[in-house]
Symmetry: C5
Subunit: 359 residues, 5 copies
């Protein structure tokens, strides 16, 4: 996970001192080679092509159809530079696309909108959640999306719907495509939250049956995961809200309704994260008081043992003394009497502790 | 309860990848069969009918009287789809009605308002609170309400008042009916809060008389219940406030006064929830310090026993030594003297502990 | 106190299902019989009368003088209903007057303002604070005040001033009378805060000298009292602020200055409550760390005793062994030597503990 | 200090029931006799006089020069009443001047501004901080300042500058004088913060070297002091901000720049208070964990002693038994053998504890 | 570090009582002698000169090229006074430049903007972070920057870019230069955060492997460092935001885009600080619960030892009694039998503790 202290920022320092707009890739290289996929569609037609070089994208610039260029892998800065030049992207936008440590945000550059989001990947059985930065550029009739290239394509469903003419996907404009991509990312959050929810549930069971210091570590791990999730999702709320209420002519009124819907989903995700945070905090409290309770149990046991055997050992000690004149020692049944006394003391102690509910 | 981690979100993932507006029921199926009840009334007349199929509702569309269609059970998506088509509901609205994990909200679709609320059901002696999603659609002279169909009808009183011509119910419009339904839901919150209040009270008594780790678990359970309630009620405040202040022509000025009233009730409910939260937090503090206090008591007991018997056992041990020359052993009253010394030490210790207020 | 969980809301459920505006008294009946007092005054004259029935109030409706109707006891709903009819009060207002679980609020009904406040009563030596709901209706030249009828009249001073022509009371309008009543309630808060302040002070002394688990309970009691006070006073701030800044023609500019003054007092009350809350929280911290400190002291004592006597008992045990050949036992001064050794060990231990500052 | 619970409010109750604007002094009488000092100056001349009676101030009313009337001691209400009458001060202003429990605030009475501030006095070696209420009235060309009269004059520097024609003091108007007085008060806060800072530093050293329960009390004392300071300084921020941005014609544009400067200083003071609060909270955490650590150390010592001597005492006990047939007792070197065994056990235990890092 | 209590404010008190605008250096003197560097450039030319006296700067006043005057070391107030006079800086600005305890802020003086920032220096292997105050004055075509003169020049990169004609640095105006300087400072924050991140990471490892009270101190040290960082960076956000959105004609639209970029970076820095704070808080929790866990372990060991040996010692004591008639003592295998019994008891206890998971 990238929120490990140090790792997050380590690479950032390579850029220190460079002029603004310098194209330096900050982050982890995820794929071997940048993959470029271009989908061009309108209500009547649909084409899908893959390219190795960015020059192939240029003809689509002038196409009246809606063009969706998807870039998988952002470490080849030369490719991105050419694409940026072709679509007139501001150097600061190009810089932000390459820097995978952005906060989710939307920026309005008159001709186009630039949107940054965080995709979350929850690895199978593993607890770790990793993030992938998704950048979107929305122009009048083109959308460019940049992924880091982590395996598992969340945009597959969107592509499928475009291909199959399902829903309104092909009837509406480029802004609806951007909505679809945001919706795909937010839908994916629910999957990650499910995984986390299951982890919380299984941890809670462990907490009740057998809390160990391992459990404590797991709780803290989840807590940190929550901090991390919150940081990734929280700003998205504002992003979608400003898309929906903003006055950019690039977003049509019909799409705003859909953005309101995805905004609601984001709020729901944030709500769930907050609820999980509260639950994890509650688990920490339970853990700590179960530790106190166990200490209490241990101390009670010690006290019971000491309270029973200390007086008895004292009595045995007394009759182990070597005084010349100790009348009891001479008694015929002295030994049996003393056993009776000791057993009575022991039984009395046990009754006392039972009454005090220590046993 | 549905806020169990994992359960809340598990079903949500079935929809992942579907286009927006896809009608998939998310949640638990509560009834066998969807029940449709149509009430049509104006100041002079009142009819109430039950239907199995949605086609029967169509004639009411054109009726000048106020029509209230109540749907019990939302898992039969085909029925809902037809109804949506008949009343021109937006696909996103239909989607939200079917997804029972919505936050309370109000959405303005020019021709109609769409309102989501959460009904709470506190099961008899049980601690668990379950929620039911209530969706309302307010048109010019019709109201459509969607319930999940949990047993126990909170709208019965509203129906009764419409039948009996009691109050102003039949003189005012569809917006007043919506107000009545919201009011019925909020009134119901007070009942749930009462149940919780009684649980808190009985838990507090237990906390004072005999706190066990069971009590701790109950406190945490209540705490979580509060998180859950808050999540259900808090957004409703905003919903009612925006209905009251909003400028939708569907809500008349006369009704706004009533909405202000139900708004006040919602604030009161939230206030009570917050007070309960504070009380439950205070209970946790008391529990933890009572654990510390008991540890103190246990340790004091151990220390008293050890402090009294260790010196005594030592003395007994001394006179159990086998040295050839130990003058005391030869004394005539050595044994009785040593008993006196030991009893004096014991009494002195007891006085000392009493003075220290340990006894 | 009414914030006991359960009690607050229990009665509320009686109203569940009734139409809005139903007149049901919610709360505790405080007096046998509703008492109606009517004061009519202007700059030149003053009359004060008591009535049993509400009909006697009707003539005052048309009087050009300022009329103040004070109702003591609100459980006789028929009387209130008639009064409401006479002064054209909205059914929702009448409902709120009868429901003693309102939050402080102000509502503007064009012809009149409706204000709800909470009066606090701190019972003599007792810790409990009880509340009484005060409702005020401010019309053009009449004020109607509703009290629950708890003994002890905080409005006595206002009456006195009207009678004696003291201050500007009789020169200014009905709005100034309302200000005077609010001022009387807020002034009363200072008295309650004094009582609480004294309780905190005496509790603090106890905390330093002899903290018991009784102290803990008292701290928690005060904490809860603070939650309760805050809930009663906090919304009043907003109420007065909106009266002062609002644009109701019923409040004249001259009176707004006075409202600003009482607003400042309310803020001061809230400030004091917050300070007390912080102080009580600090007391809880002190209590908990004093419990830890005492545990430390107990454990030190145990450790000192054990560390001194365990080695000594061991030595005594060694020379109590029955080996055939134990040279020391034969020594002439073996016994005295062993005593010397044991005393040296004891003294050494004591010096060690003194150096460690445990003694 | 005045924030002792009870003391703060006790005197306030004397005013309960009096009409608004009643002149009652609330607080502690600080000086024997009210002292009146009048400074009159413009760019060319400067006079400074002391009076006993307020009548002497009247001629200055009409003077074209700037008049600064300073009142030391506010318990002689008759003097203040006359002054208020002479300068047309509203009764509510006079009441607030006399009530030394005001929050800092500014009020705009068209003809004049009324400002309340809190001066802080940190007594030499003592920890206590006491407050003095400073009231300022800013008219067109006069300033009236009211002090409670605590020894030590913080306005001396301002007077000095007026006398010596240093800075712009005499060139600018009455508003600049008010700024100078506020600036003097805020400058004084830095001195108090220094004293507190030194206390925190010395407390921190004690915390590291030898934390006692005395340290805990000192930490809590500082914490409370912080609450108190915050309450005194926080509202001043708003006061200065509203002076600076407000549209009162009494404050000239040239002065607003200076007010922005003193506003920055106030924010800096608040920042420092918040930082100190965080530091003091951190100290409490350290204290509590050092208590836990010491408990751990004590328990380790006890456990080490018990773990070493219990088995040894057991062995000694075994060979103290009086069985007829115990072969070891007959052995020639049995006694020495048993000593060897016991020493080995002891050494082994010590090595074990050293490995566990308990020693 | 300057946030040590007392040190922060100590020097501040020297200014107490001086008129506003008095030039007194508050802070630590960092360099021997003030160094003045003047860079003058436009699109075609670039000159860079160093001076000892401020008079040499005067000719640049009238130059049409962009002038950047950098002052290293601010303790020589006479030099700064002359410079201030030359560039018409307000006395309050000069005062703020000299007072190194400013909060980051921006002030608009029509002809110029005055900006204060905090540069952070993280010393190599050391944990301490020190701050340096950077003041910037932005005029129409000049920028004056004031540094305290700590070694290590963060503006070197900016100078380099101006020299080398790299980027747009020389094509854009003085506002772009100010942006570059702010960007350099913010870029530097990332380096400091990296150092802190590494410290957190290494501390976390220690926490898991071997937590000592040293670790606790380090955690608290980091916590305080975070408070300090936050105080330095948080207000910068507002500064940049108001520069970007403000309507000062000194900032051109082209530069605003770049300011938005550096604003995003600042938010990212603040986000990271908050995440680190949460992580450090979590570490404290882990530390405290590991202390509790170790106490538990210690107590378990004690209890195990006591529970095994107390009964055994008691049995040995019993057969050490000297009663005349104790049948067991006479038995042939009594001694071996008793050993068997004692070993059985010991084994049973061990099995019991293993079952309880204490071993």
């Amino acid at each position: 996970m990238q929120h490990r202290a140090g790792k997050t920022v380590r690479k950032r320092s390579q850029k220190s001192g460079l002029p603004p707009g310098s194209l330096v890739h900050i982050g982890v290289q995820r794929v071997e080679k940048t993959k470029i996929t271009v989908i061009s569609y309108d209500e009547t037609q649909f084409t899908e092509q893959s390219f190795d070089s960015v020059e192939a994208c240029i003809p689509f610039r002038e196409s009246p159809a809606i063009t969706w260029i998807n870039i998988d892998g952002i470490h080849q800065t030369d490719i991105l530079e050419k694409l940026g030049a072709c679509y007139d992207l501001h150097p600061l936008v190009m810089e932000d696309i390459l820097n995978t440590e952005q906060r989710p945000k939307v920026e309005n550059y008159d001709d186009y909108l630039y949107i940054v989001m965080k995709m979350l990947h929850a690895g199978g059985t593993d607890v770790e959640v990793s993030t992938e930065q998704i950048s979107l550029v929305l122009g009048r009739n083109h959308v460019i999306s940049f992924q880091e290239g982590i395996e598992g394509d969340v945009f597959g469903h969107v592509r499928e719907r475009l291909r199959s003419e399902q829903g309104k996907a092909r009837k509406l404009g480029a802004d609806y495509l951007v909505y679809s991509l945001i919706d795909a990312v937010v839908d994916n959050y629910f999957l990650v939250l499910e995984t986390l929810g299951e982890q919380i549930e299984s941890l809670e069971e462990k907490l009740v049956t057998s809390p160990t210091s391992e459990t404590l570590r797991a709780i803290h791990y989840l807590k940190r995961e929550m901090i991390f999730l919150r940081k990734s999702v929280w700003p998205l709320r504002e992003v979608i809200s400003s898309l929906q209420r903003g006055d950019s002519p690039l977003v049509q009124d019909a799409t705003r309704l859909y953005l309101r819907d995805v905004y609601d989903h984001t709020v729901q995700v944030i709500d769930t994260i907050e609820t999980y945070r509260d639950m994890v905090s509650g688990m920490l409290d339970i853990y700590l008081s179960s530790v106190s309770n166990r200490l209490n149990a241990v101390m009670k046991m010690l006290t019971i043992i000491a309270t029973i055997f200390m007086p008895l050992t004292f009595i045995a000690g007394v009759y182990g003394m070597n005084f010349k004149y100790m009348p009891e020692l001479e008694w015929r049944y002295g030994y049996f009497l003393i056993w009776t006394v000791m057993i009575l003391i022991g039984v009395f102690m046990l009754i006392y502790f039972r009454k005090k509910k220590w046993l």
